[in-house]
Subunit: 697 residues, 2 copies
């Protein structure tokens, strides 16, 4: 016996040696060696630290066993010195894979693929610094670098077994680039969550939560004694989420939601794909998201997606679609019905509620398709378009509710300044009539109806629900803080009602509830402002500044709340919160509520230079303090920031979320709580292109 | 039997009726009725919502059984309409107390006090709005309101029994004001913490933690995979602390540290007292702090206080002193030795390390006292004044280490720009020589030496240690962000070394470790800045803004860290973090490190109008983006903000700190973990002025 084993061992050594020599002939031998992240603002391509090669999924990616992904290799030919033109395309490169530092195998052999994918070619220009990227605006005549790209992509792969996997590309006799993946050992939950609800207040940082609490709860001697804190602050556990992108400090909502949904960080704008350099937004290498995994591993579970934005907006789209960019909402809409080619089936959420009618029919719809009809006739959806019909729906069919042509109106428009919704021609049937505030459901209406339908459809298999307060982010972008406060308070009230519903319906004990954000804004409150004094002063910045009360003069703002809980009765008190961001475009600030419509702090003139809005100077915010912009001139609203966000968790599995975690890890923790980490029969049988067991061992 | 009980019951009803009628003769009958907090920026006196009466401790205060406090009642006579002069003083008012809605008793009778305290009189002027408060600067001729105050104070009271207590003052036939206190039911810890270490990074918000991590830890593909997160992020639990003042949104460090130390929120600038309106800063009503309680209830326990600020600075002072204001450091120094009159004994910390020599001898010392000599000769302290002697100390005596005339230099001066410490004439012996950076110990040196001495002195009774990174706050005030990052990283390294020390010395399992802040600044990072581009552009705000990279151009900053952990090797990379605050004075920002000295963003001219520092315009920050001030002109540096801060906790009792709590509750949770909540023999015997048991029942 011993001899045989030894022989096999020797054989494997020889095989390994041969394979290594075939694949990695000289120079850097394809041994895994971590490259430092590229530093600076304009890398050639995100998460691509090698001088010429890129591999996606990127280095140090983690996978569940059996989770699908596309593998793309890119080779970049360019001359950084002469810049233009680029050298010839790399045509001869070899991609290999190994497990646990074992023998290197050709990628096709490793994944049992018969045919090498077509070699693709394209080119792009690389603006390698701000002065090149903004050359037109700066008038400096700087030119970008031409890059010639050759690439191959392998679709719908998976690793079935836990362990360490290296992928290497050898692209010259001396040059290779290797990435390392980890397929995690799957874990059973201590106590399985039958249901999970992921509440996301988009762009909500700790400063915003503190502000919402100060408005929505009563205090005595500076204590929130009787009414308690915000609903979610009573959850079992509190943690923080680190939100960086794969290739930069500051994420957008697509990228962040993708990390939550797939376990993979990606680049700004990308939805459940790694961002490649190709011109197409639909060919980037995909990773499987949690709703797709649910459909394969717990097919009985019901899936719901609720948002106050368009349903094609960043956060909801990350729970059913794949795209390099959010800027193709027509394609994203189409993926609701058809999914994407050469991939798992479309998710077809059981409940999908929000705005975004523009891309469901008419000229902005893909090929003019009427998706209302299509989804109703071919995919068994019932369709509702206003609050009344939403509330009335008590069927068992899948439910599509689209309530406005684009993002839904915010809470203040839907509930207080309802007249602002007149004249918007935003009806979801695209009839050109108005989507009146009072016809649009609240986040609470949508969430409770979703729960009702999901319980019916999921039954014993439970449900997964995403519910997003999207406009916290949108209103902070506009520097319209009162509207952000209101939408966050609406989220808190929705969570309160959700808990009541879960308890009433016997689901509370079995439901993991998460409340978090996807990124921060640099928002905080540093005092109060006496608006009467501000606007009665001669308009000198120096004099007006005395109306801002800090420290012992911060006092408490003048919000009044008769019922002591939730929304205040007045939204524009004399003593308002003096809050703001550390970044932004030029604007004026008087902390005055914009009663006419959400604030828009800037305008663009013909030269595309951004200035303060005239209304911001003379109208609602007239007589405000002048704020000089400090972000690039093409940013017309405030930008995101990088501070960690909070995650509040309750119920089975909530202890997984109690410390500081990275955004990608939310996926792994949610799949653990829901018992989704073990491959099932479908994983083993659905596809040939999985880890080749025989060869690996 | 039944008859007797009934009789007693009837008697008590009659007594109650009589007492109520004696005390509260008409109008508002002294029944507890919560007043809303005063709103706006200029209340008459903090935490004093009644039109004329104030009672401190304030409404809804909470106490441990047996914890000491002073009770002060103030009556304010003023005429808000005619304003000047004030009406005659209130001379005839009656203060009563009851337990559990029982019979009202005269306060002297309730606490068994023989003599009614003297009636005191003073007056103050009430600027009731910003335009009055800043009348001189605004030149509007507005005048404040005269207020005549009469007051009584009862010293060193306590409630020995848990329950609800009301204190009422009847000051006219129709007017009374009542506050309600709760004396909590004491709790035993699940597992007692023998030791507790409270690490405070002053002024450190979530944005600052995120920034320090991005600098101090390496990342690959945007993940902090190998080196982990910051040390304290590995702690058992994470929570948030709400930091509001008793009378306003935004706290300072005195107020916040007092809340942590005593369980009572107070006002800006106050140290372990409720802020009354009297002229003296030393007569305000005190509350007992945790170190005083430790001395009475666990007298064997050793107490240490370590800070990089002066030892009389806000945070350390709250752990041994009582004062209305931090602005009397001579008196605060004296309290190290002598405590305060008519109160518990002085804390005399076993270890006291930091700066602040100015007030230990010489002209700024109280009555010219040499406290070095006094503390050595009369209080058994050994005194050290430099790093060498600190490190060498291996005795058992109490240890006083004072290393600089005022605040100690920050980490960058002590370790990188050591030449900046030449010429400061800051030696702690006040000899006029320099306190060189390299002679000053680090926070890690001080903390580890403190642990060593405390373990020797506390023995089996353990220790309580406060260790403060004070200059995170001070440097953010100056908008000198790199220096703040460095001092926070120093705190993290100190925590790492502390854990190593605790494990090596067998104390880890018995030690509760807390890391938190006391308040936020509105700081966050929204991208990176290309400093080369910024300073090469023509000085137009518009053009310069293109050097700031946001979202996909935020990239990663150019910090290099060869040893992959902790402090970077370079502090002024081309690609720096683009961070900032949402509030501040006029200044210029180029995110350039000030190599000469900590940045000072503003100057005052003769008219006391604040402008940007010339160095900030033309020197280190020359060519920066212009930032317009948005806080009152008398604020020469940036101000605090109100966002919750994080608290990271580890070890026995750490689960008490895992969700969102208010700052005052930290005291109750620490005393629970340390088993300090039960009154001991000293509580029952030390003082007559405690709850009168017989009468209460």
């Amino acid at each position: 016996m011993k001899k045989v084993v030894l022989s096999l061992y020797l054989l494997s050594l020889i095989t390994s040696f041969l394979k290594n020599n075939v694949v990695v002939s000289a120079g850097r031998p394809g041994i895994y060696e971590r490259h430092p992240d590229p530093q600076g603002q304009f890398p050639r391509l995100g998460a691509c630290p090698d001088d010429h090669a890129c591999i996606f999924p990127a280095d140090v990616s983690q996978f569940l066993p059996g989770a699908h992904f596309d593998l793309r290799v890119e080779l970049h030919a360019y001359d950084k010195n002469t810049k233009n033109p680029a050298p010839d395309f790399y045509k001869d490169f070899k991609t290999t894979v190994r497990k646990e530092n074992g023998p290197w195998m050709d990628v096709n052999e490793f994944f049992d693929i018969q045919e090498n994918p077509t070699l693709e070619y394209w080119n792009f220009t690389w603006a390698d610094s701000a002065e090149v990227f903004y050359a037109d605006a700066l008038g400096n005549g700087k030119k970008p670098i031409d890059v010639n790209v050759s690439s191959r992509v392998w679709r719908k792969l998976k690793f079935n077994e836990p362990g360490t996997y290296d992928v290497s590309v050898q692209y010259s006799s001396t040059e290779a680039y290797t990435v390392r993946y980890t397929v995690i050992e799957p874990r059973k939950p201590k106590r399985k969550a039958k249901n999970a609800i992921l509440f996301i207040a988009d762009g909500c940082n700790i400063g915003m939560i503190t502000a919402a609490r100060a408005i929505a709860r009563k205090h005595t001697s500076g204590k929130f004694v009787d009414d308690g804190l915000l609903t979610f602050e009573d959850f079992d556990n509190l943690g923080h989420i680190i939100t960086h992108s794969i290739d930069g400090l500051v994420t957008d909502s697509c990228n962040s939601a993708s990390a939550y949904a797939t376990g993979h960080k990606t680049s700004v704008g990308a939805l459940n794909v790694y961002a490649d350099s190709s011109p197409s937004s639909l060919d980037d290498p995909k990773v499987e998201d949690i709703t797709e995994l649910i459909r394969r591993r717990q097919p009985g579970k019901a899936i719901g997606i609720v948002t106050t934005a368009s349903v094609q907006d960043a956060t909801p789209a990350a729970f059913y679609s794949h795209s390099r960019t959010r800027d193709i909402p027509d394609h994203i809409t189409d993926q609701i019905a058809h999914g994407v080619p050469d991939w798992v089936n479309a998710v077809e959420p059981d409940v999908l509620l929000g705005g975004g009618a523009n891309h469901f029919k008419g000229e902005k719809s893909l090929n003019g398709t009427d998706y209302y009809t299509l989804l109703h006739d071919k995919h068994n959806y019932q369709v509702v378009m206003d609050k009344h019909h939403l509330n009335e729906y008590n069927g068992h069919d899948k439910l599509l509710g689209i309530f406005r042509k684009d993002n839904m109106d915010v809470w203040l428009e839907r509930n207080v300044y309802v007249n602002n919704t007149v004249g918007n021609e935003a009806a979801p049937d695209l009839s050109g009539t108005d989507a009146l505030g009072s016809d649009q459901p609240g986040l609470d209406d949508m969430t409770l109806k979703a729960l009702e339908v999901l319980k019916k459809r999921g039954g014993d298999d439970g449900f997964f629900l995403l519910s997003e307060a999207a406009s916290v982010d949108k209103m902070v972008h506009y520097l319209d803080f009162p509207r952000a406060y209101a939408d966050l308070i609406e989220m808190d009230m929705t969570i309160k009602k959700t808990i009541e519903w879960l308890k009433k319906n016997g689901e509370y004990e079995d439901t993991l509830i998460l409340f978090t954000a996807d990124h921060s804004h640099s928002f905080d409150v540093f005092g109060t402002v006496d608006q009467e004094l501000l606007t009665s002063q001669a308009p000198s910045q120096e004099n007006m500044r005395y109306s801002v009360g800090v420290y012992e003069h911060s006092g408490w703002p003048g919000f009044i709340n008769q019922d002591q809980y939730g929304f205040p009765d007045n939204w524009d008190p004399r003593f308002a919160l003096a809050g703001g961001t550390g970044s932004g475009p030029d604007h004026f600030e008087s902390w005055k509520l914009s009663a006419d419509k959400p604030r828009m702090p800037t305008v663009q003139n013909e030269k595309k230079i951004v200035g303060s809005n005239k209304e911001d100077q003379a109208g609602n915010y007239g007589h405000g303090l002048k704020w000089n912009g400090n972000i690039p001139m093409d940013q017309i609203v405030d930008v995101h920031s990088m501070a960690d966000v909070a995650i509040y968790s309750n119920g089975p599995g909530s202890d997984l979320f109690k410390k500081t975690i990275e955004n990608w890890n939310l996926f792994f923790k949610m799949t653990e709580a829901l018992d989704l980490q073990y491959p099932n029969e479908d994983d083993a049988m659905s596809d040939k292109k999985s880890t080749n067991h025989k060869q690996q061992k």
